[in-house]
Symmetry: C2
Subunit: 427 residues, 2 copies
Amino acid sequence: MVILGGGFAGLNVAKGLKDAPVSITLIDRCNYHLFQPLLYQVATAVLSPADIASPIRHILRGQPNTRVGLAEVESIDLEHRRVHLNKGGLSYDYLVVALGAGHSYFGHDEWERFAPGLKTIEDALEIRRRVLLAYEEAEWESDEALRQAKLTFVVVGGGPTGVEMAGALKEIASKAIPKDFRFIDTTTARVILVEAGPRLLQGMSEESARDAKRQLEEMGVEVRLEHTVTDVREGEVLLGDERLPAGNVIWAAGIRGSHVVRSLGIHLDRIGRVPVAPDLSLPQHPEVFVIGDLARVDDPQTGEAVPGVAPAAIQMAKHVARIIQRQSATGNYPQRPSFRYRDKGTMATIGRNRAVAAIGGFNFAGFFAWILWSLVHIWSLLGFRKRVFVMFSWLWGYLSYTKNARLITGDFEARKTGDAREKSDHC
Amino acid sequence: MVILGGGFAGLNVAKGLKDAPVSITLIDRCNYHLFQPLLYQVATAVLSPADIASPIRHILRGQPNTRVGLAEVESIDLEHRRVHLNKGGLSYDYLVVALGAGHSYFGHDEWERFAPGLKTIEDALEIRRRVLLAYEEAEWESDEALRQAKLTFVVVGGGPTGVEMAGALKEIASKAIPKDFRFIDTTTARVILVEAGPRLLQGMSEESARDAKRQLEEMGVEVRLEHTVTDVREGEVLLGDERLPAGNVIWAAGIRGSHVVRSLGIHLDRIGRVPVAPDLSLPQHPEVFVIGDLARVDDPQTGEAVPGVAPAAIQMAKHVARIIQRQSATGNYPQRPSFRYRDKGTMATIGRNRAVAAIGGFNFAGFFAWILWSLVHIWSLLGFRKRVFVMFSWLWGYLSYTKNARLITGDFEARKTGDAREKSDHC
């Protein structure tokens, strides 16, 4: 069988089939599994890429039934049961498609140049580069208006990523770097969080949303609800008639399913996800499963789509692994169970001692939620070494108020052209 | 006064003038100071860039007489005492030029595409990418000859960097990754260290050189002394008549002083270094000092050029800081002292429990030298956090036989064209 994608979904299918009588090939275009919930900490100079990413083949080294390949998926041929890669083809008996999602600019792909999103390590390093460069340039800028624009950071999208980025950017400005500059007062840097809807953290409770907004505003983040970005250009963002001079824009607004599934010839939902049957297989193709952020599956009780979060991806993976395990053992499995998403709680961090969490009907905010968030994320990291190192990094940063990874490296501009953008969807 | 370069030399001049009545501007094209002696460990997936680099302005944050600027140096106008940057000009009373050195391909710059050097963080990440990718490609390569070529690593140059890279590459192949692959036996990977001269580690003792060669060969590295690379092409290296099919070449052979000093209009030495007066100033320009890898200064006793190593750069920096301090305090300093390099010992690491060290006429090899090397390098890192984290990373790697930072990220190919190469000289 073939698994496409080594994210939470794909990796956990492979792990769930460790002892099954199947021969697995897992394909990803990256050689590592990325712990995406902490990617914003790479972008904000807290962690290094290696703190939150591990080689997929190293994770699966003790699993003899699985081989790992580094390749780009080009298309899927359902009829002939073949996957086309940039380096040849693969036949499958079972196929699990877990290619994830990339950014969506709602038809304005030209904004991407000025407003990078946050899905890959390269994205995170590019955002880090731009954020740190903004202060360097402001320090040497003599024009006051330009200097203010360079010190204005706009985060578009009020979901967890947007909230976390906005909080972290404000913390850099107010806590980590003020003493390092001679000419600018970095505490005057503006961080503006723009959300088109009436509240933050859609998908979490109303109370969490209010708490998050209050905590962000206490930190000095300007939260603009019900504001829609109408244009992003070099050095400015337009919110309808309002012109915001801003040298730095970060896109955390929309996602779009991996383009590879267009080759399935199936009607996708509005944001490019694949509608799947209740067992997560493709209608008419019980041998093909689509899971993770790329799957569109509605909760039978609430009627709402299962959210694109790591716990949902892991639960889907376990569901599919159980089906394949049983079917490959018995040869037959006529009545497959339906997938049910169990929401064990949602949380988002905002800054030092600040977070929101909603667990089993209870809402927490502030220090306790922040400790909870930290523990859950440390615990979820793969590997003891990463847990220890990330914990120490956080402890160190907490005590010293510094960000350790303030390096301006690389320049990924070149990558950011048409074709490259498409390719960066799923890694 | 103006300092060009934030390496060991430039940074230590600034630090040495912490309490002097001078106003310092330090310019570098990177925002960080890089601990270059450990750069090969970033290339070989042991450490992350942030483990060995710190923002220059953060290091100097407590020094009110110093401001830091991120800029590219274009030329130096000795007559008008001005430095031209890519973002404007700076006048100076004193100037310290500490721009370091880049690679030299001995007139064959076309080899750089196939044989990246190791001077910057981007270089290190590019080498890491190529090394890890070689195994990934070999795993899926069906042609046996091509597969062997992909698993052949040639390191050109038998100085400390070459020796360290060769040892680390062999260790990856034989210790860190064998269990992660299904189709290839990574322990069969060849690592070939090519040196044109009759011995390794020119500049260290004969005994160290012999010990290093023996230890490398015990690990399985093929050491080729008195072999000269005559061509580097895609997938092969020529050593005279001998053709080595090799997918991976790393250049550790030659250095060349930063191209900026060509604008001085002074006769440079064979490898582009600036011959300086005994006090490290420019002849006829007592207000300009050239230090670090870029300075050509001969030891008055041995007549040999002071080597381009970190301790020499730091000693030069302290020498110059003392001169400037006294002269700016007294207004006059007619009889400046000559610089004397004190060789406190040289060392190179080779692999697990293997190193060579020569200190005060004594030669050490093996475990003791390796412990010594580790302690000296931990101790030399700037900042307590880095010391703790690098020590734990090494301890972890030692006990687990793994390399933590095995991430294939970015693709710096685009950067590697004519102009970019010139620019990457000094950072």
